[in-house]
Symmetry: C2
Subunit: 375 residues, 2 copies
Amino acid sequence: MKNVYVASAGLAKFGRRDGSLFELALEAVTNMQSPELMEKVDAVYFGNMSGEKFTNISNLSSSIADHIGLSGLPALRVESGSSSGAGVFQAGFLAVASGCYERVLVLASEKMTHLSTADTTGILSEVIDPVERRHGCTMTALAAMVTRRYMHDHGLTPDDLALVAVKNHDNGLLNPYAHFQKKIDLETVRNSRLIATPLRLFDCSPISDGAAAMILTSKPANVRITGIGHGTEHVAVQFRNSLTSFEATHRAAAMAYKMSGRKPDQIDIAEVHDAFTSFEIIDTEDLGFFAPGQGFKALLNGVTKLDGELPVNPSGGLKARGHPVGVSGLAQVVELVWQLFGDAGRRQVHGVKIGLSQSIGGLASNNLVNILEVV
Amino acid sequence: MKNVYVASAGLAKFGRRDGSLFELALEAVTNMQSPELMEKVDAVYFGNMSGEKFTNISNLSSSIADHIGLSGLPALRVESGSSSGAGVFQAGFLAVASGCYERVLVLASEKMTHLSTADTTGILSEVIDPVERRHGCTMTALAAMVTRRYMHDHGLTPDDLALVAVKNHDNGLLNPYAHFQKKIDLETVRNSRLIATPLRLFDCSPISDGAAAMILTSKPANVRITGIGHGTEHVAVQFRNSLTSFEATHRAAAMAYKMSGRKPDQIDIAEVHDAFTSFEIIDTEDLGFFAPGQGFKALLNGVTKLDGELPVNPSGGLKARGHPVGVSGLAQVVELVWQLFGDAGRRQVHGVKIGLSQSIGGLASNNLVNILEVV
C-alpha cells in the first residue's frame, strides 16, 4: 500500500447559504491552502448524502466535476448516510494507496436549508429502519432514547450534556467557517425548547449548507493518513446489544488503530460526531479515550476543552460548525489537517502530532474513523 | 498495485420483480458460483443509482450489509448515475488493489418497476442538465437527437438500428437471467410505437428490477482485472464537441487500454451500454473496434453477433437482459466473468480470453471501461 498524504484542505463557510451545492463545492476548493494543485489531480471523489432528495439533481459526480472545471476526469460519488464525508475520504485514500491515481481531489457538498425543517427531517429519517420509522421514530427520537438510557446507566444529567454544547460553541466562536459563531452558556441550553426529552434544541446539531475539499497524494507532504477504519451495525436499533455504545465505532476504531499502530492514549486531538450532545460523550468512550460511563466526567473535568489534555471538536463540531450531512465527515478531517499543519488560527492547539476523526452514518449504523499524523 | 481477481459472480433474475432491493441483492449473492466465499469478505461495496428516489430508503449500504448477513463489515455505496454498477466495480477493484482489503463483495441492486413509467422517467431525467431539462429534454429525447445526427452524418437507417435490437433479443433468448427471453424480428421493431423519432419502443432498453454480485480478491483466481478506465464529459449536451461520439468513453477506454496493455483488436468479447440501439453502434466506435461511421456496417455484416468475430452484448445487453439502472454496469462484468470462466451456458462464446465492458452514466457524462482476462 502506498503512503497517502494530504497536500491541501479547505472548507466553504457553513451555514444558511444562498449558493447551490456546486457553488459551495467550488468555494471549498478555492479556499484550499493550495488551490492550484487542483489542476494536477487525476480523479474526483465526491461525497454527498441525499442530494437527489434535497435538490432533485442526480448524477452529481459528473455535474460537480463540470462545475469546478474538471470535466473529463474520472468522477465518482460515494455515500454512507451522514458519514458520507468520511466515506469519500476513505475511497479517495484507497484510490491513491492503490497506486492507480497519484493525486485525487476529495470533495463533499450538501445543500439543505432551502427546504422546510419538516421536509428535511423527513428525508433524514429515511436512514431509519422502515419498521421503526413506521412506529414514529425520527433521528432525534432515537437519539433521545439513547441519551435516556445513558442517563439511567451512568447518572448523566441534562446540565452535563449542556456542557458539550457550551464547549463546542466556545470552539466554534474561534472558527470563521462555523455555522454558529456565538457564545452560549448553560442557561441558553436550559431555556431552549425540548425537541425529544431530554434533548433540547441546543443538544442537537443544526441543519446546514456546506462543503469541504482536500487533495490526497502519494507524493510526500506534511500530513500522512496512517489509519482508516470502517464498520457497520444493524440499522434497526431494536436488534442491537447496547444503546449506549456504538458497535460500528468500535469496529472502525479497532481497524484504524491497528493500521496506524496507534493507541487511544497517543491521540492528541479528536473530531467526533456530535450530532447530539450525548453522542460526543459516547463517541469518546467508544474510541477508547475514556472508560464506558466515564466520558462525561472527562468533559466535566475539562479534559476535552480546547486547552485540555485531549481537545475534542476543536472546530466546534457538528454542533457549532454545523452539519451539512454528507460533508461533516470530511470537514472533520479538514480540521485535523489544519491543526496538524499549524493553520488553525485562533483555535490552534499547540504541539498536535496525531489527530483522529470519527463520523457516524445513520443512527450509528455506518461509522468511520481516520487517523492522521504530522510526518 | 496488487493484482485483483474475480473469484465468483452472480445475478438475480432481471425483470418485473416483486422482491425488494434487498431481496434482489441477496438473490444475486446466493446465485454466485461460490456463495460460501461471502463469509470471507472484508468489506461490502454497494452500487445503486437512485434508490432513495425509487424506494424512499437511504443509507442503503448499511441496510444492504444487514440484509445479506454481513452487518459489521465496512459497507460503502458508490454512484455514478446509470454507470453506478461499473463505478462500484472499480471502487471495489481499487480497495483490493490497495492491499487494504484482501477480499470484497461488490454488489449492485435497483428496484424500479413498482413506480409508474412517468415517475421513473421523471427520476431518470434528473441526470440531465437543469437548463436542458427545463426545455423539455428527457433521456430518450436526447438519445433521439444523437441518433438523428448519426443518421445524417453516416447514412444509418431505422432498419439498421432495429438489427441491434434483433441481435440482442436473440442473445437474451439464451440468457435465463434476462428480462426478455423473446425472439423479435425487424417487423416487431418497425411496428412498435415511436417514443422519440426515430427511436421506437424496441430501440429503448426497458425499466427493470435486478441485482448483481461479485467477489474480488487479491488471491489468484481464474479471471484477472487487467484494466479499468473512467472519464466524464460536460453534462449539458449543448457544450459538447460531438453528438455522435462520447468523449467520456474515449477517455475511459484510453485509460483501460493503457493499464491493461491491450488494444481494441485484442478484445474477444464486449458488453456495451445499449440503453438505446444507436448507443451500441456509437460505443463500438468509441471503443476503437470500428472506425467512426463504420460501427453499423460491422453490425450489418454480422461481426457483432454471437458467432461473429467480435460478439457484442452476448448477454442480451441492456436491451434484452434489462436495465436496472444502477446494476447494468456490474451485470456486464458478470457476463464477462461467466464467459471467461466458460460458464455462460447456451450463449457461451468459445475461446474467449479477453473481455471488455463499457458503461454509460447519464447521457454519456460518466462512462467506465473494464478489461478482464483469463489468467
